[in-house]
């Protein structure tokens, strides 16, 4: 039996299923076999799972596994793609998987070929032979996610429909045959919600985007990712309210209503689209705007099922102006940061808007986790920055913010900081800043325009400087990457959300999202304090994530994150004990305070009008 390399196995097990290898977000090109085969099995993410599956004895060597190994060209594209977001380097796993299969062949080991049963035959009649399988290796890549509280669940079939009619036919067939259905937008779900012992529908083949500029909409197929849609919208000088880059537009809309820092102006849930098309549970196709159809615009205060399988979303397009830039307004305390963000919302100043903690700022800005840790410590301790209000604003908005804020990190200063981060945490400089006794806070000095030449001299900002923090083999790539203007452009980065994909780089992240009333600082403290307390009691790594005001600053969405090593059974125990404590506490808070609602209740009701869950009358 071929040997498993434990170090490589550990890397494979750390795959976060973020599917960043399925989008060409760094313009490196994609893993060649992925776009051809469409099954996640043929992307680096799938191959990571295959190696882990072999190592854990979950799967045999199958035809599809051999093909997945053979179609890897070891081009190395997945290394920078994955490292940028997660810090992992999958090429070693790809290489080990290929080596395993080669050894297996050499040893003349058996290659499992599954038999087509009746259901699979019927499914293949609908979608075509290539787009449905019961190969255990493929099934395994749709059976598990890092969320440790959902154990692996092998589906019977994985099916990739190509049209809404095929979807409808599969839904009907599944109904007739009593097969459960789970819909996967992009082959990954970090919360483990989409597993079944029946049929997994992977929508990756349905990737059409049709722009209707007269009506300011893009009709988007269910396999289109947020990154791809945003990229296409940008090419036309337009913008959408985008989800995480690898998340599918339709899937994210249905599941969460899609929220982002842009929800400050673009809203969430039903604000995001003009209409949506579904295949209902009975296999019938309907539009949300059809008066005779079910009313999914209404919100129910309970965990409710989704309207069905989304086959198209008519996503709203928004205009951009050519003078938009990003700004960070630093704050020492949370209260002043929330007040400031709320005021911007109320005064309709700025577009994207969020309060970020030191953890997110450090994580998003740095391509290396070690450096992120040092930046996270330095921001509050040396610079006095515990929170920032991040915003994208046009020139009028920026002018207003400069008048309102004591200090502002504008886009050019942020570019210096981003490219000079390794020097920002250099001990001598930090010591100097830390022991600065002047009347201004250190960040106020840092932000003064006259200080720019000194900061430039100290930080030596350049693609070379920032690349120093990554492993040597990746430095040439990062040097070229950071030479691209968009990599330090807050507008581009925030629209495409590629740096926020770094949030689970430290460890797998369990994100908790809660709608809160922004005028109740006491409640916001209660929410943050509550998550912190429960995490502390259970020995979990945790941090405040972000807060974005919505609906003219009246409400906000707040994220608090727990971090776990999902491969560590002790960590699994901790989160398993913490989760049952959180639920009743949050429910009680929601019952007591208008405007508090766990996003859990919005899951699958993302088509609802936001007013239905932000307010309760």
């Amino acid at each position: 039996m071929p040997r498993i390399d434990d170090r490589v196995r550990a890397t494979a097990a750390q795959c976060r299923h973020y599917a960043m290898c399925k989008i060409d977000y760094l313009a490196t090109g994609l893993c060649p076999s992925g776009p051809e085969k469409h099954f996640v099995t043929y992307y680096p993410q799938g191959r990571m799972d295959l190696y882990r599956g072999l190592a854990e004895g979950r799967i045999p060597v199958t035809e599809a596994l051999v093909e997945a190994a053979d179609t890897c060209t070891l081009c190395g594209v997945c290394d920078p793609q994955c490292h940028f977001a997660t810090g992992l380097r999958p090429t070693s796993v790809m290489s080990a998987l290929k080596g395993y299969v080669e050894d297996h062949r050499r040893e003349k080991g058996p290659v499992v070929r599954t038999v087509e049963d009746e259901d699979l035959r019927n499914i293949r009649e609908i979608v075509g032979r290539d787009w449905a399988t019961n190969d255990p290796a493929v099934l395994w890549t749709y059976a598990d996610d890092p969320f440790p509280l959902a154990p692996p669940q092998m589906p019977r079939y994985v099916v990739l429909p190509g049209t809404r009619e095929e979807v409808a036919a599969i839904v009907r067939l599944a109904g007739e045959r009593g097969l459960d259905l789970a819909i996967r937008g992009n082959g990954g779900s970090v919360f483990g919600f989409v597993f079944t012992d029946g049929v997994v529908l992977d929508m990756s083949r349905m990737r059409t985007i049709e722009f209707d500029l007269d009506n300011w909409v893009a009709a988007v197929g269910p396999g289109v990712t947020s990154f791809e849609l945003q990229q296409e919208a940008c090419r036309r000088g337009l913008r959408v309210n985008a989800a995480e880059p690898a998340a599918t537009v339709c899937g994210n809309l249905v599941c969460t209503g899609t929220f982002s820092t842009w929800s400050n102006v673009y809203g969430t849930a039903a604000d995001n689209f003009v209409d949506m098309e579904f295949v209902g549970r009975d296999g019938r196709i309907f539009r949300l705007n059809d008066k005779r159809g079910p009313n999914h615009f209404a919100f129910e205060h309970r965990v409710a099922p989704s309207p069905g399988v989304c086959t198209k979303a008519f996503v709203k397009l928004h205009p951009m102006t050519d003078d938009e830039e990003g700004l960070l307004v630093p704050f020492e305390g949370l209260d002043e940061a929330v007040r400031f963000a709320r005021e911007l919302g109320q005064r309709r100043i700025g577009l994207a808007l969020a309060v970020l903690g030191a953890h997110y700022i450090a994580t998003f800005l740095t391509p290396d986790e070690g450096l992120a840790g040092r930046v996270k410590a330095a921001l509050p301790e040396a610079l006095g920055i515990n929170y920032v209000v991040f915003t994208i604003a046009d020139r009028f908005g920026r002018e207003a913010i400069r008048m309102m804020a004591p200090a502002v990190i504008d886009s050019s200063l942020l570019r210096l900081l981003m490219l000079g981060l390794p020097r920002l945490v250099e001990p001598r400089w930090l010591d100097l800043v830390r022991s600065y006794e002047g009347g201004l806070r250190p960040f106020e000095i840092l932000c003064r325009p006259e200080m720019r030449p000194v900061i430039e001299a100290v930080l030596q900002p350049s693609p070379e400087t920032i690349s120093e923090c990554v492993p040597e083999g990746l430095r040439p790539f990062y040097r070229e990457l950071y030479a691209r203007p968009e990599m330090t452009d807050m507008v581009w980065l925030n629209m495409h959300r590629i740096v926020s994909a770094r949030m689970s780089r430290r460890k797998h992240m369990v994100a908790f999202l809660v709608y809160v009333p922004t005028d109740r600082l006491d409640v916001i403290h209660e929410v943050i304090g509550g998550f912190g307390r429960v995490a502390g009691e259970h020995g979990l790594d945790h941090d405040f994530g972000f807060l974005t005001p919505m609906d003219l600053g009246k409400r906000a969405i707040l994220e608090y994150d727990y971090y776990i090593d999902h491969t560590d059974p002790l960590e699994k125990d901790k989160i398993a004990r913490a989760m049952p404590v959180l639920e009743p506490w949050l429910d009680a808070l929601a019952a007591r305070v208008p405007g508090v609602l766990s996003l859990k209740y919005v899951f699958s009701q993302g088509c609802a009008r936001k007013d239905g869950f932000l307010y309760r009358v």
């Binding site: 010591d431 100097l432 022991s435 006794e437 002047g438 009347g439 200080m451 030449p453 000194v454």
Partner: protein
């Protein structure tokens, strides 16, 4: 009085007095604690755990820095605690700090900035209140309060060794230290405790060795200049010097670095600097001889002119272009980036840089004079020793390396 002079002297002579030093992990506090120890007194030191180090660990490190022998170190009683903790005084007076005879209160925040008001008030007012509470509860007979000459506030001319009941003050540090003195006076009067108030000016390193534990105040502007010098030297030597040239920074013919920084100074006044060795000797003299309670200035009769300090710094670190000037210079040419940086820092120190106050020593002078204690002049030799040590200790980062 809780304790009469005779018994006080007898107890001290027998080295039976248990003396608590607060803030003993700090700069002046540690020096005073060590001086008391070396004089054979029975010393308990109070300090917080900090940055993952217990109070005992912090003291072990300090003891090594001071070169204390094992026997002396072993005689030291280390008490871990935070005077700001609620209920600290009540608990300690029943526990580890019951039966304290004298307290030397050094714990203090020396931050000037208004943005640190909460922290400064906590340390200098709330902390002191708790220590006084301990003094009252624990049977302490003599309270030694280390304050500052700058409780004088915004006065000009002679400042007497007398209570300062009201401001105006330059900053939160002066204000809270003045409030602290009055608080100590009232508490000690009420409870019959003897009270000495020690008022040093700006304390720097040891004038004989240059050694110090802190690199703020006098050291910071020099440290910043040296840091910038190194940054721009690297820029010139390794990267063509484009960033240096943008600010008019260049190599001089003698190989030094020309950094055009104008520092605004007033025509009169200077910086009143007292080396820690003199400060401690003065403290010990007053501790021993000032038995009836009183206020004592520990000041330098010859303040240092900023112009001299700038000249010392330029000479030691081969920096040129740093000049002192009057405010009119900035009207002709606005401040550059380096000047903005310096100005924002020096803003809080400006009242001390052009100090025209003189500190009367009617109480301190006879005690110090009797022992021939004279405050050393801050000349280039002293500056050199201090800065050599600062460089050797990498401005603090290698302080405990040896």
């Amino acid at each position: 009085m809780r304790i009469e002079t005779g018994p006080l002297l007898e107890k001290r002579a027998a080295r039976a007095s248990r003396i608590l030093v607060t803030g003993a992990a700090g700069f002046l506090g540690s020096h005073i604690a060590v001086a008391l120890l070396r004089a054979g007194h029975r010393v308990a030191v109070l300090a917080r755990a900090s940055k993952g180090r217990s109070a005992r660990d912090r003291f072990a490190r300090l003891a090594a820095w001071f070169g204390l022998d094992e026997r002396t170190t072993a005689a030291l009683e280390v008490v871990e605690g935070d005077v700001l903790d609620a209920g600290w005084a009540a608990a300690e007076s029943r526990g580890g700090l019951a039966g304290i005879d004298e307290i030397v209160h050094c714990a203090s925040s020396t931050a000037f900035s208004e943005r640190k008001r909460a922290e400064v008030e906590a340390a200098n007012v709330d902390g002191l209140r708790n220590v006084l509470d301990l003094a009252v509860r624990s049977g302490c007979g003599f309270f030694h309060h280390v304050s500052t000459a700058y409780v004088a506030g915004r006065r000009t001319g002679p400042c007497r060794e007398d209570w300062v009941e009201a401001g105006p003050f330059t900053n939160v540090y002066e204000e809270t230290k003045a409030r602290g003195e009055i608080m100590a006076r009232d508490a000690c009067r009420h409870e019959g405790l003897r009270l000495n108030v020690y008022r040093p000016t700006i304390v720097y390193g040891d004038s004989r060795t240059g050694r110090t534990l802190r690199f703020n105040a006098l050291y910071y502007p020099v440290k910043a200049a040296v840091y910038l010098r190194d940054i721009y030297l690297t820029d010139i030597r390794e990267r063509g010097g484009r960033k240096a040239a943008g600010l008019g920074i260049r190599l001089s013919e003698s190989g030094g670095l020309v950094m055009p920084i104008r520092i605004e100074v007033a025509p009169a006044g200077g910086l009143n600097l007292v080396p820690v060795d003199h400060c401690v000797r003065a403290f010990m003299a007053i501790f021993e001889d000032g038995l009836d309670g009183g206020i004592y200035h520990i000041a330098n009769p010859r303040p240092t002119r900023i112009e001299d300090l700038v000249a010392f710094g330029k000479r030691r670190f081969q920096m040129e272009g740093i000049e002192t000037c009057g405010p009119e210079a900035f009207a002709a040419q606005p401040k550059n980036a380096l000047e903005v940086l310096y100005d924002s820092y020096l803003e809080v120190y400006r009242p001390y840089m052009q100090d025209t106050r003189s500190f009367d020593t009617a109480n301190a002078a006879p005690i110090l004079g009797k022992r021939g204690l004279v405050c050393p002049v801050f000349d280039y030799e002293v500056f050199l020793r201090c800065m050599d040590y600062a460089v050797e200790a990498d401005w603090g980062s290698k302080l405990f390396d040896r």
